[in-house]
Symmetry: D2
C-alpha cells in the first residue's frame, strides 16, 4: 500500500480511498452512479458508497486484501474519468 498513488480528488480515510461528490440533483447523481456501476462490474471491483439526494460518498478498499490495492486505484481513476477529470 505504500506504493499506492492516490488519484487527484481522493484522500485516504480509515485506510480506504474516499471521495465526496455533489451533483445538481438526484437524477444526475444516480446517472453518475449507473455509469460507475458499469465500470465497477467491468473491473470486478465494487465501491462501498452511499447516496443522499444529490450527494454521493464513495469509499474504495479491497476487503479481501485488507487495504488499498491497484484495483482500488483503477476504480478511483475510472470515477475521475467519468467525472471528466481524466
Amino acid at each position: 500500500m505504500s506504493d499506492v498513488v492516490v488519484p487527484p480528488g481522493w484522500e485516504v480515510v480509515d485506510g480506504r480511498l474516499h471521495r465526496d461528490l455533489e451533483f445538481p440533483d438526484f437524477a444526475d447523481a444516480f446517472a453518475f452512479m449507473t455509469r460507475v456501476a458499469f465500470a465497477a462490474e467491468k473491473l470486478d471491483h465494487h465501491p462501498d458508497w452511499s447516496n443522499s439526494w444529490n450527494r454521493v460518498t464513495i469509499d474504495i478498499v479491497s476487503h479481501a486484501a485488507g487495504g488499498i490495492t491497484d484495483r482500488c486505484v483503477a476504480l478511483a481513476a475510472e470515477v475521475n474519468a467519468i467525472l471528466g477529470e481524466r
Copy 2:
C-alpha cells in the same frame, strides 16, 4: 409520527425507517436501486441509502419535517412492492 404505520420488513432506527437488504450479486442490487430511484423521483422523496456489492441499506426520513412522514411510509411501501412484497 405516532400515527405512522411501519410497513412490514421495516423498523424505526434513530427516528428513520430502516431496512437492510441482500441480493444475489451487485447487478441485482443495482437494478433494484434503479427501480427504487424511479419510484423516489415519482414521489419526489428520496432515500438515504448505501450499497456494498450485494447489500443495500435504506433509511427514509423527511429531513424537512425532521421525522417520519406519510411520504416516507409511501416510499417504504413502494420498496416493498418492488421487492414483490406488496
Copy 3:
C-alpha cells in the same frame, strides 16, 4: 404542430422529433439513457428509442395527440441539456 420549434440537433422524421446519437461505448450510451429515463418519468412523456452498443436513436411523438406537442419539444430540450448542449 406548425408552431413547434424543433430544438437544435433534432429533425422531424415521419412526423416525429428524431435524433441519432453516438457515444464512446455501451456503458456511456446506457448511462445517458438512464439520465433521459429520469427526465422522461418526470415529464411523464417517454421516447420511442433504440440502442445498439454505442448508438442511441430517439423518436419523440405524442401517440395520444397524433403529432409533436409541447411536451415532445420539452423532452427533446431535456435530452439536449443532458448532452450538455443547453
Copy 4:
C-alpha cells in the same frame, strides 16, 4: 447456426434471436433493461433493442460473425433468467 438451441420464449426473425416483452410500466421496463445491460457488459455481447414505454423489443445477433452464435444464446438465456424463467 444449425446447432443453435433457441431458448424458450425466443424466435429467430431475420436471422436474429428475437423477443418482445411487456411490463407494467416504463419504470419496470427500464429497470429490466438496466439488469440486462449489466449482463450484456459481463458477456461483452450487447443486444439491439428498443423501448416504447412499457414495451421492450430485443434482437440478438453477432454482427461480427454475421449470425447467431453461442454468445447470442447465452445472452438470451440471461434475459430469461432475469425474467425469472431460468
